[in-house]
Amino acid sequence: MNTPVDVLKTADLFTGLTQEQIATITALGERHTYHKHDLIICAGEWDDAFYIVLSGQVEVISEEAQGTPTLVVLGAGQGFGEMAVLDAGPRSATIRCISERAEVFAIAGRRLLQLCRRESDIGQQLMYNLARDLAFKLRHRNLALQSPEEGVSR
């Protein structure tokens, strides 16, 4: 079985960090397994854990979204929960497991921020990576909203 460090090396949220630095982050968290339809995060709750998908798929749901409530599906290597880490607000969306099984790595946001303050090299790179990841999610959302209508292929 891959260790979290192995998988986290393939997540761009941790690009630019050394293996030792990734191991330092990994030591702050733990692996959780979810099954289909399990809720990982509930919108409105107050919790600051940050998650990385190690395997499987989860969907991001907002009942306030126009059209379909699912905002995006996230697969291996993707992070979620970063908003509550950054702004200490309530969860803005619900996250649900949609694959038969999904493994995620969870880190308490408070501990992650403490590490970022203590180890400024890690903190600067991680915050830059989080900003890039949020920008990528916005680009994806814009592309999905612009997607043209078309029929079913065979």
Partner: protein, 70 residues
């Protein structure tokens, strides 16, 4: 190289997916998002590569699941 992919589904009813994978997608490849399957129609660079990551925009259409292998 790790490929960070924005999978966008033609039709606009599905929000698509973001996935990191270790292989370059190819036209016609079938990918599973949730319970449904999609065929890759088009692949474009979305952002310049950085370190060992490539950032791609992949357009897909709904398709049938791949035939089960014996």
């Amino acid at each position: 190289m790790i490929y960070k992919i924005s999978y966008v589904i033609i039709g606009g009813r599905h929000p698509g997916a973001i996935v990191n994978q270790d292989h370059m997608p190819y036209i016609g490849e079938k990918v599973q998002i949730g319970e449904l399957w999609y065929a890759v129609q088009e692949i474009k660079d979305l952002l310049p590569p950085q370190r060992n990551f490539a950032y791609l925009h992949v357009t897909c259409q709904p398709t049938k699941p791949p035939a089960k292998q014996n």
